[in-house]
């Protein structure tokens, strides 16, 4: 087994392990930490595929921003017990759901395996890439020339997401007395927004 293959197998196993542990955790904070483990392993796979910048961005954006947001919300809601976390009277039995989802995964793997391994060249990657593959320069050239329009649209998406998040998470006057402990965006003096 070459070093390339060893790194791939190791990080693939870690990624799948982290994802599996994530969905089987009862505690949401532990689930977030396992998702970070899985994401770091996926970043290793990105780097192995030659896209160093995207691997770094994956770690920075996910582990640094999105998952911190998740942990922040978990801490803020202060959940405990089965009633909060939700484990009562599943509509269909747990075993049925496991069987259905296992079958789905097996089907996915079967389709990919059948379609890619039979392709031209056995689907092997070429040893050499184009110059500057995965570099910041190459990505920036694409984003600011061919994909300029979608790139500009993402700024509008982010703006509307920020506005929507603030409007939705804003504390309503009715619940002011019931939960004084939690942190929220606190500009209730602005009556016009309601």
């Amino acid at each position: 087994m070459t070093l390339d293959m060893f790194i791939f197998v190791f990080s693939a196993i870690v990624a799948v392990f982290g994802a599996t542990m994530m969905i089987s955790q009862r505690n949401p904070v532990a689930a977030v930490l396992y998702l970070i483990v899985s994401l770091v392993a996926q970043a290793v796979l990105y780097v192995q595929l030659g896209s160093v910048f995207m691997g770094a961005v994956l770690i920075i954006v996910y582990a640094g921003a999105i998952l911190v947001l998740f942990v922040f919300v978990i801490m803020m809601l202060n959940l405990r017990g089965k009633e909060d976390l939700g484990d009562n009277s599943p509509p269909i039995s747990r075993a049925t759901k496991y069987i259905i989802s296992m079958l789905m995964v097996a089907e996915f793997v079967f389709i990919v395996h059948g379609s890619v391994f039979s392709g031209p060249g056995g689907g092997m990657l070429e040893a050499e890439t184009v110059a500057g593959f995965g570099s910041v320069e190459g990505i920036a050239k694409l984003l600011f020339t061919r994909y300029l329009y979608p790139f500009e649209l993402t700024s509008i998406l982010l703006l509307s997401a920020v506005v929507g998040a603030v409007v939705m998470a804003k504390r309503r006057e009715i619940h002011e007395q019931s939960d004084s402990g939690s942190v929220s965006i606190d500009n209730d003096s602005n009556e016009g927004v309601k």
């Binding site: 994802a19 996910y62 921003a65 919300v73 890619v116 939705m168 929220s184």
Partner: protein, 100 residues
């Protein structure tokens, strides 16, 4: 070299685990994390195809998908907070307020 199908199988397994989590999870925060995992699996497939075809367009798509994932997390968690403030629970069995 590692064949591209190996990366695709990892991506597909991660996507399947994410779907499985959406199906079995009773906790809406874990459910959101499973959606993030599915987006990441799609990203891994995009990067693998980009490397296989030797063109960099997949990286631009991954960039856009990351933006969408960040926006989705922000809006989704805001919804979770709103629902928690209104119902004092994030148990998804109780999210039947839209049911007719």
């Amino acid at each position: 070299m590692v064949p591209i199908s190996a990366y695709l199988i990892v991506a597909v397994v991660l996507f399947g685990i994410g779907t499985m989590g959406v199906l079995i999870s009773r906790n809406i925060i874990v459910l959101f994390m499973c959606v993030e995992l599915m987006l990441n699996a799609a990203n891994l497939a995009l990067i693998a195809f980009s490397r296989s075809l030797n063109i960099m367009d997949g990286h631009a798509f991954v960039f856009l998908v990351l933006t969408v994932a960040a926006a989705e997390a922000a809006v989704g968690l805001a919804m979770v907070i709103t629902i928690y403030n209104n119902r004092e629970s994030i148990n998804i069995d109780r999210f039947n307020i839209l049911k007719w």
